[in-house]
């Protein structure tokens, strides 16, 4: 019997036995949906973490000198937390000494930040990131100014109350009117808007366009840190080797200033994008190791369901098998009929699974902060796995069917 004929027959049977097929389909469907959705999310996260997260929040070839890491990866125990809280803060003098100690070419900026409520003529924007920074901040964080200008070194030194704000905040406060020159209030102190940063989009669903950057010694600073203290010193270098050299120099300078003995650990944190990416890499590896396990469990379950349904089909269709044999169907005709049928069921399941997986990925992408990017290979693997499982699950029922005695089969009452 020709292959296409077998598929046509399989599709007819599937159509005739929708209920049973639906159950058989579910097994493979779940596995494939799961595969596609998880792979899509992992892939999406991957692209996201490397392209955006690390670059946007920490910067490429950039490190942050902080009291303790800003991005905590893994579980932080209470004792770790307490030891971090006992650490001395990063003082202006520390930052200056480290800047002076770094010999490789670099850009540097100071940064202190907190959340605050921003007011403009009675309009209020709550929970806005307010950063007090030095003038290189925009360059280091790669925040191009779309409108107006960044603040200057003079303004930083003078503590001029000027602000560069994010696109979304500008939109919300000024509703399309020109933001430049307008006065916003932070803790009741007026700041003049001198620039708006280009639209940055979002990260895990959190808008990156709702912020205020003001000068490092502006009045807002008081609400963030005690006098003479800065949250972070940011150093950006031109290349990875330079970054390594700069980190070594910064670490040595800090250890000297803090009088740390060789056996003592650092009581400050040097944070790079690598640390975050490393952590993500670990999660990614765990997921990619666990994924085949989880997918194969659901495929095995799906396979067993298909096998049982095919066995049921064989016993229900004993008479049909007898009729076909009496009309000249050979063993291999019956065998291929049932194999193709189970493979078709499984492939249909896989296809539905692919579609649902894609839909799930799209839905997750659209409705949650988790990004998703569909990997074409996962679709191919999903369909191939589904069809393969269908074939394997079909072998036993199909061979039972093919070995039925035609005389007994044709007299079989169902």
């Amino acid at each position: 019997m020709q292959f296409l004929e077998a598929i046509r027959l399989a599709l007819q049977t599937i159509w005739a036995q929708k209920m049973k097929t639906a159950f058989a389909v579910i097994g493979v469907f779940i596995a494939v949906t799961f595969l596609i959705a998880v792979v899509s999310i992992v892939q999406g996260m991957n692209a996201y973490m490397t392209d955006r997260f690390a670059g946007t929040l920490l910067g490429v070839n950039t490190f942050h000198l902080r009291r303790f890491p800003n991005f905590q990866t893994g579980e932080i125990t209470d004792s770790t937390w307490r030891s971090w809280m006992r650490r001395p803060r990063i003082r202006y003098a520390d930052a200056e000494a480290v800047e002076a100690a770094i010999t490789v070419p670099h850009l540097s900026a100071w940064e202190s930040g907190n959340r605050a409520t921003i007011e403009y003529r009675g309009k209020v924007a709550r929970d806005i990131d307010v950063t007090a920074a030095t003038e290189r901040y925009f360059e280091i964080r790669n925040l191009p100014i779309a409108l107006g200008r960044p603040f200057s070194a003079q303004e930083v030194r003078a503590g001029t109350p000027v602000a560069v704000i994010g696109w979304e905040l500008a939109d919300r406060l000024f509703e399309g009117r020109d933001p430049l020159g307008r006065e916003i209030k932070i803790h009741d102190i007026p700041y003049r808007v001198i620039g708006v940063v280009e639209k940055q989009g979002n990260l895990f669903g959190i808008s990156l366009d709702k912020f205020v950057v003001t000068t490092a010694f502006a009045p807002a600073k008081r609400f963030v840190n005690p006098p003479g203290v800065v949250d972070a010193l940011i150093i950006k270098t031109g290349s990875l080797p330079e970054l390594r050299a700069a980190i070594t120099e910064a670490e040595a300078a800090m250890r000297t200033r803090r009088h740390l003995r060789p056996t003592e650990g650092n009581n400050f944190a040097i944070e790079t994008a690598d640390a975050v990416l490393d952590f993500w890499g670990k999660i990614n590896r765990v997921l990619m190791i666990a994924l085949p396990g989880l997918v194969s469990i659901s495929l095995v379950v799906g396979g067993i369901v298909i096998m049982n349904i095919m066995l049921m089909a064989v016993s229900e269709r004993t008479r049909e098998i007898g009729i076909r044999k009496s009309l000249g169907a050979r063993r291999r005709d019956i065998l291929s009929q049932f194999l193709v049928e189970s493979a078709t069921i499984a492939t249909v399941g896989a296809a539905v699974g692919v579609a649902t997986g894609l839909a799930a990925a799209a839905l997750i992408d659209a409705t949650t902060p988790l990004p998703a990017a569909v990997a074409p290979w996962s679709i191919a693997v999903g369909v191939a796995l589904g069809a393969g499982v269908g074939m394997i699950a079909g072998i036993y029922p199909a061979s039972r069917a093919s070995r039925l005695d035609p005389i007994a089969a044709i007299r079989h009452e169902t």
Partner: protein, 234 residues
């Protein structure tokens, strides 16, 4: 009828034993029988006489325990399962008491089935199945499913299916067993027409009035040929 007449079925010492637990039941105990081309034979006998066993063996659904069977010059008694399937496909057209049509398939598709296993292309299948349905007067029922047809129509679909591969023999097992008498005579009419067109027909039945349509009646008793009467020359 001379010896030169085309012998289509030749049985020699055909024996079939069944193991029933510890006992062995001899369903056929050495049947010798020749059937020539274009004969119309009824095989009769009470239940337990070996009719069904005979039917299964002649239909190549079963192989004999001992003895030999030539169908159309080919010895089928030593064939493998797949070779037998091929013989069933090409040489034998079955008509069953219970019609044995695929319930979900149209008449057309049911008739096409043997052609599918013969490897005939889809286009030829359609044409040949249509012709076969026409032969039994059901051209207008090609797209009906068995449950949309009367018993007589179903049996005629089964006959069309049996004939579609132009088999050497048409083998009917109680073809009227599930039909009322009017429909039965209608089916016998079809058999008679086919026989006149040159078809060899072997029909197993326990009804004497049905057997009367045949030109030769072979009676089995206790697994042996009891009588073999030719009513008139075929």
């Amino acid at each position: 009828m001379s010896a030169a007449v085309d012998v289509i079925i030749r049985l020699r010492g055909l024996t079939r034993d069944y193991a029933m637990g510890a006992e062995t039941v001899q369903a056929l105990r050495g049947v010798d029988l020749d059937i020539a081309r274009n004969e119309y034979v009824a095989i009769m006998g009470p239940s337990g006489s070996g009719k069904s066993t005979m039917m299964n063996l002649v239909g190549c659904l079963d192989t004999p325990t001992a003895g030999r069977y030539w169908l159309n010059g080919l010895e089928v008694s030593r064939m493998t399962d797949d070779e037998l399937a091929r013989v069933r496909n090409r040489e034998i057209g079955f008509v069953f008491q219970t019609f044995n049509l695929l319930p979900r398939a149209s008449s057309q598709h049911n008739v096409e089935l043997p052609l599918i296993y013969a490897g005939v292309s889809a286009r030829d299948r359609r044409a040949r199945a249509a012709r076969a349905l026409e032969r039994v007067g059901l051209a207008d029922r090609a797209h009906h499913k068995p449950n949309e047809l009367s018993g007589g129509q179903r049996q005629r679909v089964a006959i069309a299916r049996a004939l579609v591969n132009e088999p050497s023999i048409l083998l009917a097992d109680e073809p009227t067993g599930n039909l009322d008498s009017a429909t039965s005579s209608e089916i016998m009419q079809v058999f008679g027409d086919l026989h006149r067109q040159g078809q060899t027909i072997i029909m197993v039945t326990h009804e004497a009035d049905i057997a009367a349509h045949a030109h030769r009646v072979v009676t089995l008793l206790d697994g042996l040929v009891h009588s073999d009467t030719v009513k008139r020359a075929a």
